[in-house]
Every structure is written in structure tokens, then in C-alpha cells.
């Protein structure tokens, strides 16, 4: 339904993740991940079963070799050729089984990674501004990257390792048949695994969590430094930054050492349990063989079996450790995915269509923080097509008005209405489609200028893009660039000047052609001459649009039909420029602080064309 409001120009080459994360937040992390794994069950189970069968085949090979030696070389009763054929056949079977199952297993792992990455990304794009006000991007980067990898690694390898350990059960049963006493000796060290399991849970899980968390802190420190490098350099604060990195990095080093210590203490212990059994077997079994109660051949077979247990055990230790890490990582991922977007479509919301552009702020109270309200009892009504200028001191809440209108935040009290409908009762996409916001800081993406202008309408034609750029007085300088509209602007568009970026941002909004326009200090970095030209275009553009202009320049305010003065979170006065100058001392104070010496003449906004 809302898709028309969210145009998409890119060919979808990869499908959406089929699985999702289990919604029950109190369920175990594995259970929550299960639907994602199960969405690849065909591939996944083929891989797991394949590797299990390959192991069963493998168990047969030493047995046949042993028979070949006994029957062909020692007893010389059967020709060797037959055994060779069997061994070769078993080997070929194992080869093919492993070839397929290993490839499939890795592919499953990468599919799980793909799913998790895209699920997290999709969720991030749905989260509300208040989330991003709170959580730093370095933290989110770490979670959507290394944490996903650690979960993926575990989910894909665990079942195979478990399948390998299942072979241990098969081997144990086989051993019980041959010699129950020796079987018990051979398996006597296995219960010690439990000790390991407990230790791992008690120690490795917290240390893994700490390690991830400290790495995220290192990432955050680095990320912030990179983004704030202009300030760092401007104040020659490099030393201070290096010391900050030092403080975080040395904690990370400490935790890595602690982690290595714990791993070093417990993992050789686990890995060597089969070898310990082997030594026991040599002593006890050797004693029994010496007395003749078991044959040497049996001992050799048992030894071979225990040897077979070694790789799964090494893997098991690894599994338990990466399992702890994956659990910690999964919880860090869930922390993102479980954050509900605060701004979302309510049940029964309808699409806003054929918007006339009537706006009403009805007794609105709002604060970014609970303890301070930015707007308090704010009421304002705009007729369709009306242009109003909001004037107020820095921090008086002017920008907030636009953000509430586009539902970047929801009001704490009161109502914002578009065409008489509460904005919370229309779909977010349709609302934002109709509200064009030129933000005070023009953020550009490092793609071509054309793509930046077409950001809100990626399917727009080049002619439309050029038209929008022309209206925003950007066409001229864009054409002078080496690659014109195909010029890639550098990181965040920093290769352009502030005024150029603002013009691109204006063009970006004009292209969407919204019936409601909010210009939030959109021309602050543009010089007067160009601003005048843009105003010509804007005036044309604003003809049938409801527009809120936030700005400080009289030239900008002139574009408005009416001026509203904002102070203390509410409108203290509205009227024309002249009226306000006469009646509202605050207006004069805010606007014309510099003009204190002289009175205003006749040439005020009402005479403006």
C-alpha cells in the first residue's frame, strides 16, 4: 500500500532473508536464532547428514585396512586386491560426501551471515531518531559486523561438530560390544567434560562479553576521532586523543590477556582427555593383555577408536568457547533488534493522500529529554498553501517543529494534524512523502551529485534532476565540475563548500515535490546574491505549498505570509513583519539586534514582490 511513497530504483538482486529472529525475548538465544538457520534447512541438513555419513564411512576404513593386513598379509587367506577396491570405494565415497557437505556447510554459514546482516540493517533503518541520538554508530558498526560473524561461525559449525561427537557414541557402543571393561576404561575420562563445561560458562562467557564490549569502545573512540578530526586538528588535540585511545586500548589488551589465560587453562585440558584415556588404556589394557584376558588386536582396535575421538574433542573445546562468544554476541545483536521503533505505523493507520497541506499544532508539548521540554503548549495553524516564518532564539525549538511534523519524534502531549488528521494515525511513509524537510545540516552521501539530488526519488530522470538543481541554483556550479552531475562528492560531500552542499540539499527536496515544505535554516551558508536567486525559485515552488521557513535573515522571512515568534516553547506572537516589529519587542530584539540604532523603513516585507 505505502510502496508508492517509497520509490525504489535499484534492481533487487538478492532476496530478503527468509528467516527472522524468534520474537520471544525471553527465549534462549539459540531458539531465537533457530528460524534463521531453519530457513536454510535443506542445504543445512544435507551438509550435516553428509558429514555424519562421511564419518561413519571413515570409521570403516581402518577396520578394512586392519582386515586386509590380517587376512591377506598375515593369514594370507584372501587376495589383497578385493580389500584395495573396498578401501578405494570407501575413500571415494568419503571424498564426494565431504566435498559436497563442506561446501554446503560453508555456504549455509554465509547465508546465515547474509540474513543476519540484512535483518539488522533493515531494523536499523526502521529505528527512531531517539535511538540514534543515544547510541553511537561505532557501537552499531561493531555489532552488525564482528558480532554477526561470531554468531554465524557458531551456528554453522556447531551441528557438524556435534555430529562428529555423535560418532563418539557410535564408537562407544561398538567398544562395549567388544569389551565392556576396556570400553569403560577408554571412556572413563569423558565425564570430566562436564567440569570444562561449567568452567567455560562461568568464566569464558563474561570475559567474551567484556572483550567484545571493549573492542566496541575502541571502535567508538576511533570512529569519533575520525569524524571529529577537523576539531582535533584545529586544537592540536592529537595528544589528548592518543591518550584516550591508549586508555581504552590498554583495557582491551588486559581483557585479551585474561581471555587467553582462561582459554589456556581450560582448553588443553579438554583436548587431551582422549589422550589421557589412551594412557589409561595402555596401563590397564596392557595389564589385562599381559594376563591374557584381552587380545593385543583388541587393544590396537581400541587405540584406533580413541584416536578417532581426538579431532571431535579438539573441536568440542573450540565449540564450547565460540559458543560462549556467540551467545554474548547474539545478545548484543538482540539489543538492537529488540529495540522497538518508537515511531511506527499504528494499527489501522491510513495513507495520507491528496494532501492539501493544512497543518495544525494543537497544544503540543515535547522534550528530547524527560526533564526539559523544548515545546510547551505550542499551538499553530497553517492554512493550505500558507507560508509561515518561525522566528526565535537559538534553541527556542524552531527546528523541533519540523521534526515533529515529519514524525521524527512523537509529541509528549497535544496533537500535530495534517489535513485535520493526527499524524500518528497516518502511515509514516505517506506522511514523510508529503513533508519535505531541508535539514539544517546538509548531509550528502558519497555518491554522484545526481544520485544525491535524486535521493528521495531514485527513479527520477536526469532532466528532472537538472530542473531541481536549476531551481536550487546548483546547476551552474555542478556543470563546472569535472564530471558534472556524475561527480562523486567525497566523504559526506566535504569536497563541496557549505553553500554548495546546502543547494544540493534544497534540490534534493524540490525534486520530491512535497506539498508541505520545511526549510530549516536551509540557506544559512549561501551568500546573499545566490540566496536571492534561490528565493525566486522558492517563491515559485511555494505557491501551492504549505511552507514553514526557519531562518534568521530578513530576506528569508520576507518569503513568508506570516511570522510566528517562538519563545519559551510556545508561540508568543504572530503577525506580519511590520505588525510584529510594532507590537512585539522580542521580535525586534531577535531579528534586528543589529539594527538597534535605526528604525526600519518602509521597505519591509509587505512591499516585497
Amino acid at each position: 500500500m505505502t510502496t508508492i511513497f517509497e520509490p525504489v530504483a535499484e534492481q533487487e538482486e538478492f532476496a530478503e532473508a527468509r528467516g527472522h529472529l524468534h520474537g520471544r525475548k525471553d527465549a534462549s538465544w539459540l531458539r531465537r536464532m533457530m528460524p534463521v538457520v531453519m530457513s536454510h534447512r535443506a542445504m543445512f541438513f544435507t551438509a550435516v547428514i553428509g558429514s555424519f555419513v562421511a564419518l561413519v564411512v571413515q570409521v570403516q576404513i581402518p577396520y578394512v585396512i586392519g582386515r586386509a593386513i590380517d587376512r591377506s598379509l598375515v593369514a594370507k587367506v584372501t587376495p589383497l586386491g578385493g580389500y584395495i577396491v573396498i578401501i578405494a570405494a570407501l575413500g571415494a565415497g568419503r571424498w564426494i560426501l565431504n566435498l559436497t557437505s563442506r561446501t554446503l556447510l560453508l555456504k549455509t554459514a554465509y547465508r546465515i551471515e547474509y540474513d543476519l546482516r540484512t535483518i539488522i540493517y533493515q531494523h536499523l533503518t526502521r529505528l527512531s531518531f531517539s535511538f540514534f541520538d543515544r547510541v553511537q554508530s561505532g557501537e552499531l558498526m561493531a555489532r552488525s559486523n564482528s558480532d554477526v560473524r561470531s554468531v554465524q561461525m557458531f551456528l554453522a559449525t556447531a551441528p557438524v561438530i556435534l555430529a562428529q561427537c555423535a560418532v563418539a557414541v557410535v564408537v562407544f557402543v561398538q567398544m562395549l560390544f567388544v569389551s565392556p571393561a576396556l570400553a569403560l576404561v577408554a571412556m572413563s575420562t569423558m565425564p570430566l567434560i562436564a567440569v570444562f563445561g561449567v568452567q567455560v560458562r562461568k568464566r569464558l562467557f563474561p570475559i567474551s562479553w567484556l572483550e567484545q564490549s571493549l573492542l566496541a569502545q575502541v571502535a567508538t573512540a576511533a570512529d569519533e576521532n575520525i569524524n571529529g578530526i577537523r576539531v582535533v586538528k584545529g586544537f592540536a588535540a592529537e595528544g589528548q586523543q592518543v591518550r584516550r585511545m591508549y586508555s581504552v586500548a590498554r583495557r582491551a589488551r588486559w581483557v585479551v590477556v585474561q581471555d587467553a589465560n582462561i582459554r589456556a587453562r581450560w582448553s588443553p585440558f579438554l583436548e587431551n582427555l582422549p589422550r589421557l584415556a589412551q594412557a589409561l588404556l595402555l596401563l590397564v589394557g596392557g595389564w589385562m593383555a599381559y594376563d591374557g584376558s584381552v587380545s593385543v588386536g583388541t587393544l590396537v582396535t581400541f587405540n584406533a577408536y580413541i584416536l578417532m575421538l581426538q579431532p571431535p574433542f579438539r573441536q568440542l573445546g573450540l565449540l564450547l568457547m565460540i559458543g560462549q562468544r556467540a551467545k554474548a554476541s547474539a545478545q548484543r545483536i538482540f539489543a538492537i533488534v529488540d529495540t522497538e521503533p518508537e515511531i511506527r505505523d499504528r494499527p489501522g493507520s491510513i495513507d495520507l493522500i491528496d494532501c492539501r497541506g493544512e497543518l495544525e499544532f494543537d497544544n503540543v508539548t515535547f522534550g528530547y529529554r524527560r526533564d526539559t521540554n523544548v515545546l510547551e503548549g505550542f499551538s499553530l495553524h497553517l492554512r493550505p498553501g500558507e507560508t509561515i516564518a518561525l522566528v526565535g532564539r537559538s534553541g527556542s525549538g524552531k527546528s523541533t517543529v519540523g521534526r515533529l511534523l515529519a514524525r521524527f519524534y512523537d509529541v509528549d502531549e497535544g496533537t500535530v494534524r495534517v489535513d485535520g488528521v493526527d499524524v500518528r494515525r497516518v502511515t509514516v511513509a505517506s506522511l514523510r512523502h508529503h513533508v519535505g524537510l531541508v535539514l539544517d545540516e546538509p548531509f550528502l552521501f558519497s555518491m554522484s551529485i545526481r544520485d544525491n539530488i535524486a535521493f528521495g526519488r531514485p527513479d527520477a530522470s536526469l532532466a528532472d534532476v537538472i530542473a531541481a538543481a536549476t531551481a536550487a541554483e546548483a546547476d551552474g556550479f555542478v556543470r563546472e565540475l569535472e564530471h558534472g552531475y556524475d561527480t562523486i562528492v567525497g566523504e559526506r560531500g566535504y569536497t563541496l563548500s557549505g553553500g554548495q552542499r546546502q543547494r544540493i540539499a534544497i534540490a534534493r527536496t524540490l525534486l520530491v515535490d512535497p506539498p508541505i515544505l520545511v526549510l530549516d535554516d536551509a540557506t544559512s551558508a549561501i551568500d546573499a546574491h545566490i540566496e536571492q536567486l534561490i528565493h525566486g525559485a522558492l517563491k515559485e515552488a511555494m505557491k501551492n505549498r504549505t511552507t514553514i521557513i526557519i531562518g534568521h535573515r530578513v530576506s528569508t522571512i520576507r518569503l513568508a505570509d506570516r511570522v510566528a515568534v517562538l519563545d519559551g516553547g510556545r508561540i508568543v506572537a504572530t503577525g506580519t513583519h511590520t505588525e510584529l516589529l510594532a507590537t512585539e519587542p522580542l521580535y525586534g530584539e531577535i531579528l534586528a539586534a543589529v539594527l538597534a540604532e535605526g528604525p526600519l523603513g518602509e521597505n519591509d516585507i509587505e512591499d516585497a514582490p
Partner: protein
Amino acid sequence: MIGGASSGGGVWGPAGLGGGSMSGGGSVKATADGKGFAEVPAELHDGVAKILALEPEWEEPELKFSHQPADRRPLTVTRMLSMRRLAIIGMLLVLVVETASLQAGPYLIQVGLDRGVLGHDRSVLITAGVASFVAVIVTVLVSALRGAWTGRIAARAMFRLRLRVFAHLQRLSMDYYTNEKAGVILTRMMSDIQALQTLLQDGYAQFFMQFLTLLVVGGVLVHYNVELALITLVLVVPALVALSAWFRSASDRGYLSVRNAVAAVLGDLSETLQGIRVVAAYNRQKQNVIHHRNVVGEYRQANDYTARIAGIYAPTTEFIGLVGQVLILLIGGAMVRRGDLSVGVLTAFVLYIGAFFQPVQQLVQTYNMYQGGKAAMVKLRELLDTDPTVGEGVDAYDLPQVAGEIVFEDVTFGYDPSRPVLHHVDLRLRAGETVAFVGPTGAGKSTIAKLVPRFYDPTQGRVLIDGHDLRDVRLKSLRRQLGVVPQEPFLFAGSIRDNVKFARPTAGDDEVQEAIDLVGLRELVDSLPDGLDTAVHERGVSLSAGERQLIALARTFVARPRVLVLDEATSNLDLMSERKVEAALDRILEGRTAIIVAHRLTTAMRADRVIVIDEGRVVEDGTHADLLQANGPYATMFKIWAEHSLDNSAYRD
């Protein structure tokens, strides 16, 4: 909160900024679970607390930063490890003992069975049994020692590398940060260093042990029967070498595309997070999600290719191993029939050839680590070899306290040297003068402002401060005397106080308060329950753009610069705030030089001198009144501006 031992800020990142300080009211400000985002989960509280209790009390770091790298030698593994010779020998010894004790098991069993049980010698049996116990215990102890040791070495090496890379990033010039995506730079600091850590911690030790195992097993085979050993090795090794060579080249190719793909994934993610507000404002979620899926999909495909390679290599080596066993059976069987070989030795041979192949199979894993480490190494070496374009000479000297005379001598400059933005600019700003630079957008005003703190060096000509060429003095001594306020205010995570004190952390509270008063933030600060301790961060919108700009200005005031550079720093402010700031500037700037880039000509009016820049050249220079009288470009500009901004009469004096 846990983690008192940390220095500065919330230990768990933004937790302190989260729901904590906001209680009651609508659902808007609460996290889903009511807890801070990055707080310790409940079930881990005890475990984490127990570990943190062991954390030492860290002292304040005493690091000095220098623009001269302390270590100019190229990065190599040996330098990174920087182990003493004795330590290397010790480590090799540990690895030899570990391999030997691992491989001793089968040998002891064979001795115990052959000579103990079959040879009817109980003492040999007991000796062999006890010896194999000892071997296991030695293995456990030595492995533990090795694990803890390599962990320590890797952690130390990574710590040093991280600081070295970070310090180098601080040295690199502005152009590096404009040309390189932030996500990519972050990758250098995080995943590349992580890859090296894995290689150092596990990779090298494993690789060495695998190599050693090959040697030991090969030696044992030769020891049992030279002829059979040579035949097997000659038949098996070439196939193995060929296969490994294929694996290596295919894997290198695959790895390269995986790396490129993952960089694209991270770059896309990072940019989305930075621009998330724009994404939401323009309903781009769907488009972006599809784009990200395509980028991650490419990454998945690159990974699938490596999956096929790894999927082929390991099972095929296994198969070659089996062919080896079959060959031994055939050839060895014939030798047994001829009576040249005992059955026992043949059995041992068949078993040992399996042991010979184990390390080869593990090569897949080790080689992946090696590749990751190698690629990271190349990238990091490249980064560390990048010289800052704005560097500090070895013989740079500290700039003495300046009066603030700034001279541009025939300065030509372009971000891309072939497209100059400034052409032959000659300028002399007298000490203590306030100079406004005006002109159309893109004329080069900001560029002039960026040359003064030496963010860039002129392509031609020079910039002097008090007669010192900027390129001859230490950057720190220069920039510490300048106060630069850029167009876009950037705040660091932390309190308002921390941000105001950023340039001079030693500043007293009274100085912070004074700065707050000067820029007119008093009212705001007093209205916040946490006052100066209110947390802000990079994109926090709880402050308006103007308020953030005011904090940036307060930060500059606390820095007490000798020369102030305001690069459109007041364009986000309303006139009243701007007026306040300017009044503050007047006070603080008494006797100091100021360079102000502005669009609002009110600023120009108040300056001692106005310089008009157009197309990278100085076109006019004089006081506001002089220039108006001259009736040149400035007068025209002012007319247009005044008509549109103010009432003309107010300025016609």
C-alpha cells in the same frame, strides 16, 4: 555501574546517555527493556564484576604525541612482536616440546604393546604407561603455557600496533580524511588489527607445529623403513604440492574479492548510520535496504567462491592421503610377502601416513588466518607509509607566542593541484586586526581560512605568521595559538563541560562558566537538570544546530587563541545570538587577530577590514566604508544583501 577503573566517560559507551536520566512520561524515551543499550546483561553481572575486580588501577597515561613518528621502519611481523632473541628461542622450544609430547603417544603405545605385552616385560609396560601419562600432562602444561604466552605476546603487539596506527592517523592531513571513507579508516583500526591478532595468537604457532609434525612424522616413517618411506613420499608429495599450489592461488584470488566486498559492506553501513536522518526524511529505507542487500549479496557470493575452494581442498587432500595408504598396502604388502618388511611396521606405516596428512588438512584454516593477516599487514603498512601532505620537518621549531601578523605571499592552492582554487593571493593581516572575508560561495574564502591553521599547504607561495613560514614551525605550537571554529560544529561524546574544555582540559571550572556566559549559553545550561554535566554526542539532536555551534565557540574561547579563525561559524545562529557572540568576541579578541569568513555582511561591517574574494583572487580590500565609497563589487554585494536582509537606511551613515 560497573567499571570504575576506567578513565573518563561512561564505560559502556552511551549507556549513561540512555534511558537512565529520563524517567516517567511517554514511551518515546525509554529503551525497549528499560535499560541502557550497552549495559551489562543481568546474568553476566557477577561474572563481569569478578573479572573487573582483578583489573589493575590504571594510571593516567603519560604519552607525548609527536608529529614525527617514533618508528619509521616498515611494519613487519618480527618488529611487531619485538621479542628478545631469548624469548624466541624459548617459544620455539615450547613448540618443539609440545609437538614432541603430542607425537610421543603412538610411539609409547607401540613400545608398550610390542615390548611390554608381546615381549612379556611388565616393567616396560608400566614404564611406557607412566611415560604416556607424563607425556599427556606435559602436553597439557606446555599447551597452557604456550596459549597464555602467545596470548600475551599478541595482545601486547596489537596494543602497540593500535596506538601506532592511531597516532599515525592523527598525523595524516585533512586531504586524507576527505578522500578516504570514514568506514574504511575504521576498518584499518579494527578488523585489520583483529586479523593480525588472530594470526599472531594462533596462526603462527599452529603453522609451525603443523610443519614440525610433518617433519617428525616424515622422520618416523624413514626411521621405520627408508625404502617404503621414500616411495610413499615420492608418490604422494607431488600431488599434495600441486593441490596446495592450486589452493593457494585460488584462495588468494577469492580472498581479495572477499576483502573488497566486506569493505563495501562496512562502507555502506557506516554511511547509512551517519546519514540515517536523511534516509528517514526521504523515505529511502526500502531503497537503502535493497541496496544493502545487494552489497551484502556480493559479499556472500565472494564468500561462496572461497567455500567451494575450501570445500574441494580439504576432502581432496584426505583422498590423496587414502591413496597413499592404499599404495603403502600394495607396495608394502608385496614387501611383506617377499619378507622384506614386518606386518607390525606396515601397520605403523599405514597409521602414521594418516598423521602425516592431518596437518596438511588443517592448512585450510591456518592459511585463511595467514591470508587475513597478510592482507591486513599490507593495508596497515600502506597506511603507516602514507606521509602526511602537511608534515612537520625534523628541524621544525616551536612558534614563539605570536602577535598575530599573517601574510600570504603569492599563494596559489588547489585541493586538486591541477585545479587551483586560489590564484596568487597576496595578503597582509596586521596583528590585532579583525578581517572579514566575503565573496560568493565557492570563491575560496573558506580555503584561505583553512590555510592559516595549515590544514593544507599552498601549492605555490607561502603563508607566514609573525614572519615565520608556517611550514617551519611545529604544528602543535601553531595550532595551539589559533582557534578554529569550522562550519559544522562537532561535539564529542561526553558532557558539555568536557566539550568546552576540549582544547584545554586543564581549564578551571570558572573559565568554563565564563565561556558559557560569553557565548550566551547560560540560560540553556541552567535549564538543564544536569547543567554542564549534560551528556551530548556526535549527532545528538537534543541540542539545536545553533546551540552546538555556541558550544563550539565556547570551546574556542576556553582555548584562548592568539588568532581566531571563524569559518562561517555563526551562520547557524540567529542574529541575537550572533550579536552576543560578536560582543564576546570583541572582548576576548582585544589585541588579537581574527579571520572571519561570513555571508552576513553585518559581520563585515563590524570588521576592521573587509577583503572581497572572487574566483580565488583578492578583488577588493579596505574598510566597509571605503569599499562602499569605492562603489566596486563589495558595494554591489552589499546593496543586494541589504535590500534583501535589512532596511537600507539603517546602514547609510
